[in-house]
Amino acid sequence: MAMPFYVAPEQFMKDKADFARKNIGRGRPLVATVYSTGVLICAENSSRSLHKVSEIYDRIAFAGVGKYNEFDQLRVSGVQHADIKGYQFSREDVDARSLANLYARYMGNVFTHEMKPLEVEILVAEVGAQPGEDQIFHILYDGTVVDEDRFTALGGEAETITARLAKAYKAEWSLGQALKASVQALTGGERELSSRELEVAVLDRGNGRRAFRRILEAEVAELLAGREPVPVEAAT
């Protein structure tokens, strides 16, 4: 009877982590930051129809980098979970923290028990009722959850990008300022990113029940050019 080769657990886990990290690092990055009236998520994405950023529930958004089919499956599961929870209990009872925990448990489980770990990093963001109550959860391929309350970056060069954002970050900055700084952090000033290559979405307190809104190309260009839209509260 042939004996299977012995592989030390340390080596096995390290190989899996290296595999996941390498593939995630190849993907184009994404940043999220809080601003005066909500949370901004900005991704490098040249596709108009395959989204990296999407809506999960009234106040919750999802973003993923890495292998598209894997994070998309996670996104759909999140929507199903949130809708079922809201149906069983109440819309108010659906929160990002419990969803982030479920994602972490699932991804951790896959990392430990399956041959191939998920090649994704995901983000779950929730806009709070008041400034300062926004939450950003960053979940890694092995199920590690990092809880951020100001900004985070996912994907390739995430550490460099986070460091750039940390320098630029100002509390209570406007959407335009936050977007410009996010794009600056993504490029590092070394290359140009046009509005065509960006996927931008916000969770904004002023948007009513469903806080999620995609910011389309034209509006992104306006914001990057320094023209701020009239805030919803001020307009009404």
């Binding site: 999407s54 999140g78 929507v79 199903q80 809708d83 079922i84 149906y87 448990r105």
Partner: protein
């Protein structure tokens, strides 16, 4: 709770009702092969017969006695096409048998941003159907990244009504009315249903519920192409007034409590409730119009020799009605 994970071969897709059903929560069976229509919720016709009659165990003698089990019902709803889209309206009364169960029930709901659903029939399953329907549309939009077409929405509702057929056979009938603004065709559209899930598109207007016939007749007589918002609201309000006038289960405007029927418009700008003061004004116009018609009537001449004022005698068979009709 765990994260719902369906294998690729068993994916419920963007159908929320199906997700609920797979996980064992849904009151309406799924429409896929796993859930044949009505298969799960039809325990056979309950003894006791009659709409909404369930047999409940009786007193100490050990025999079961049939007691009426009164189901709360919602009544008159209507939808009318006008210039900018569709107007939907519904009264606020819910009844349980001959008793008034609620005075402030909402029967007209936004299904999503550009469509609305109104309900008549057994209130419990109807409200649940509306809730799941709303979730269904939002769920589809989130999973697929774009909203369903108006016809797609109407078909989804049809499947839910059909799934309720078993309950309908036992007296818990739900008849929704669906209307919306079709953004692709830039026009308001109205869909009606029968208890078996049959779906019919109406070109101009429809009304349903116990007072639906009276409301429909009123709208039929007053309907014009190219009505303005105000004309449309007035017509709906008039229809509800006439329905309340003829049908005991339909509530009229309640000036004492300040409760007015729900009226909503659905246009390119989306679903919007008509503010209550505006509905109250529309009722004011209907009431003053009807009152002036009543005041201008010549009262029947009183004949002191006539023994029975109520019934015309054989000698003067058609005199009293004829004079009453004269203006």
């Amino acid at each position: 709770m765990t994260l719902p994970m369906f294998p690729p071969g068993n994916d419920p897709g963007p159908n929320f009702n199906e997700v609920l059903h797979r996980l064992g929560f849904g009151p309406f069976p799924g429409s896929g092969p796993a859930g044949a229509p009505g298969a799960q919720t039809v325990p056979g016709r309950l003894p006791g017969g009659g709409p909404g009659m369930l047999t409940v165990p009786g007193g100490g003698d050990g025999r079961a006695s049939a007691q009426p089990f009164q189901v709360t019902h919602g009544t008159t709803i209507c939808a009318v096409r006008y210039n900018d889209g569709v107007i939907m309206a519904g009264d606020r009364r819910a009844t349980a048998g001959s008793a008034i169960a609620h005075r402030t029930m909402e029967k007209v709901h936004a299904a999503d941003t550009h469509s609305g659903v109104a309900i008549a029939g057994a209130a419990g399953p109807a409200m649940e159907m509306v809730r799941i329907f709303q979730l269904q549309l939002e769920h589809y939009e989130k999973v697929e990244g774009q909203a369903l077409s108006l016809e797609g929405k109407a078909n989804q509702l049809s499947q839910m009504v059909r799934a309720n057929l078993g309950m309908a056979m036992q007296g818990f009938v739900v008849v929704p009315l669906f209307a919306g603004y079709d953004l692709r065709r830039a026009k308001g559209r109205i869909y009606t249903y029968d208890p078996t899930g049959g779906r019919y598109e109406e070109t101009d207007y429809h009304a349903d519920g116990s007072g639906g016939r009276d409301a429909r007749t009123t709208i039929k007589l007053g309907f014009k192409d190219d009505m303005s918002r105000e004309q449309g609201i007035d017509l709906c309000v008039q229809a509800l007034w006439q329905a309340a006038d003829e049908d005991s289960a339909t509530g009229g405007p309640d000036a004492v409590r300040g409760i007015f029927p729900t009226v909503a418009t659905i246009t390119a700008q989306g679903f919007e409730r008509v503010p209550e003061p505006e509905v109250a004004q529309a009722f004011g116009r209907v009431i003053s119009h009807l009152t002036s018609a009543e005041v201008n009537r010549t009262p029947p001449p009183v004949d002191p020799d006539e023994p029975d004022q109520g019934r015309p005698s054989k000698a003067t068979p058609a005199k009293a009605p004829a004079t009453r009709k004269a203006k």
